[in-house]
């Protein structure tokens, strides 16, 4: 059930000029914008918040008239506000887009089942169609089973890889080729920071783009909240009394991301504009061009003839690398011969997770046994 926040009864009667909104100069300011420290009132806040998102959408030409768009909806604050604002802007500015809510059920009892209940309420509240895709149906594994098998430490690795593919498959099922997600400015700054700290220069360049799509992929992703502060998203949801779900995932976030997030929050407390500043820095970073790899004559010939690259895996096998390739097992787009999800699944089935971080003490075949037991009937 949804309980909206209470309505305050106390109102300031004698306002000082310094307490007034710096935009309309007529109402009491209720927040200080982290972006520019401007004090504004509730009405002006709604207006500015929505207009900035509209401007982001228009200046980046995110949509075209008649486009079908899926909102990756988790029931959390970001995606709930995104669905609400996108529907509102679509009506106000006549983008002419068709919005669908697309949710992924990872199968996490006590977390995702509750958040999906929120999405189902959102479906009614905003009168938008909803599609739910489950890990169980796609992979025949739930996250709870994966964690039982592979341990809690690598849960985000599995979940991330599987979710990415699940969203694409969900979109393709609905014949939608554009998924918008609620990633906000704080998330993006956090990712830029993490990529810098890890020296992950390949991801660093891509991490600030508002729209991403892999070559040959029919589904593109975009982030209309790229410049929206988390604080403003939460305040918007609070003032509009939007129904959102707010519990941290049972399998807490990766320690590294969690620490980066806290660091960002502490920085923001001292210098609120730092979030947008980090994004700007990320946007303007251009890496020097990569040096051409030395290839042997034999491989050179292959490259010339077939325009293919070789990838040597740690275990000695070689796979043909080409953007726009398809996975040999599931047919999903993959730069490698076998996609990452299939590799992880294979590891799971053998109970030998590839991304193991700690010594797994579970005995061989535990996962298989569990699945067999589940299928037993009397």
């Amino acid at each position: 059930m949804f309980t909206p926040p209470s309505n305050p009864v106390n109102k300031t009667e004698n306002l000082k000029v310094s307490q007034l909104c710096e935009l309309c100069h007529s109402r009491k300011a209720i927040l200080k914008r982290p972006k520019n420290l401007m004090k504004i009132c509730k009405e002006c806040f709604y207006n500015v918040f929505e207009t900035e998102i509209h401007n982001t959408i228009v200046s980046n030409q995110l949509f075209y008239p008649g486009e079908k768009v899926a909102v990756g909806a988790s029931g959390g604050k970001d995606s709930t506000v995104l669905a609400y604002v996108l529907k509102k802007l679509n009506e106000e500015y006549k983008y002419g887009i068709e919005i669908t809510l697309l949710s992924i059920d990872e199968g996490i009892v006590g977390y995702r089942d509750d958040s999906l209940a929120t999405v189902k309420r959102n479906k009614e509240q905003y009168d938008l169609p909803l599609e739910i895709i489950s890990y169980r149906d796609l992979y025949n594994w739930t996250m709870d089973e994966i964690v039982a098998c592979a341990g809690v430490r690598s849960s985000c690795t599995y979940c991330g890889v599987f979710r990415r593919q699940a969203l694409d498959r969900g979109a393709m099922k609905l014949e939608i080729s554009h998924v918008v997600t609620g990633h906000n400015a704080d998330d993006m700054a956090e990712t830029v920071l993490m990529n810098i700290l890890r020296g992950d220069v390949n991801r660093l360049e891509k991490s600030t783009s508002i729209m991403t799509s892999s070559a040959g992929s029919p589904v593109k992703r975009s982030k209309p909240f790229k410049y929206s502060y988390q604080k403003e998203i939460v305040l918007y949801a609070h003032y509009k009394k939007l129904d959102y779900f707010s519990t941290e995932c049972t399998y807490a976030p990766e320690a590294f991301r969690g620490t980066a997030r806290e660091y960002m929050k502490s920085l923001e407390a001292i210098r609120p504009s730092c979030i947008i500043d980090i994004i700007r820095s990320g946007e303007n970073l251009v890496l020097k061009p990569k040096k051409a790899k030395k290839v042997t004559t034999k491989f050179k010939n292959i490259k010339k003839n077939d325009n293919m690259e070789m990838e040597v895996k740690p275990n000695g096998t070689i796979s043909l690398f080409k953007d726009g390739n398809r996975c040999e097992r599931c047919g999903y787009l993959s730069s490698n011969r076998i996609c990452k999800a299939c590799i992880l699944l294979e590891g799971l089935e053998k109970n030998r997770p590839q991304m193991q971080l700690e010594n797994d003490t579970s005995t061989d075949g535990k996962a298989k046994l569990m699945r067999d037991l589940e299928n037993l009937t009397f």
């Binding site: 209470s6 305050p8 604050k77 604080k231 941290e248 995932c249 997030r261």
Partner: protein, 104 residues
């Protein structure tokens, strides 16, 4: 006679999990002892409402103020515009704390 004021304290955005899973507390405090928001937080909320303070204190408080990432609103106004910890409490004020530190 004691000088009591009534306050409504709300823990939102999942913060209720460290306050006995209760989102709203309607409380009466002695205004002679608890005058400012600082008094309310450190002499009342932390002592009376916070569950398992030994584990949960750092989720709510950092460097002697509310932890960054938690939004504090006084009658729906950002506390940055209301003198933050030095805000002088009034009868029937609504104080809300909203966590933003979770997935979206």
């Amino acid at each position: 006679m004691t000088n009591n004021i009534k306050l409504l304290i709300e823990f939102l955005g999942g913060l209720d999990s460290i306050f006995d899973n209760k989102r709203t507390y309607s409380v009466e405090v002695d205004n002679d002892k608890i005058k400012t928001l600082k008094d309310l937080i450190f002499d009342y909320i932390v002592k009376e409402l916070l569950v398992k303070p030994e584990d949960n204190y750092s989720i709510y408080i950092q460097d002697e103020t509310i932890r960054p990432g938690i939004l504090t609103l006084i009658n729906d106004v950002d506390w940055e515009l209301e003198e933050e910890l030095d805000y002088v409490l009034q009868n029937r004020d609504v104080i809300s704390f909203t966590s933003t530190l979770h997935g979206g």
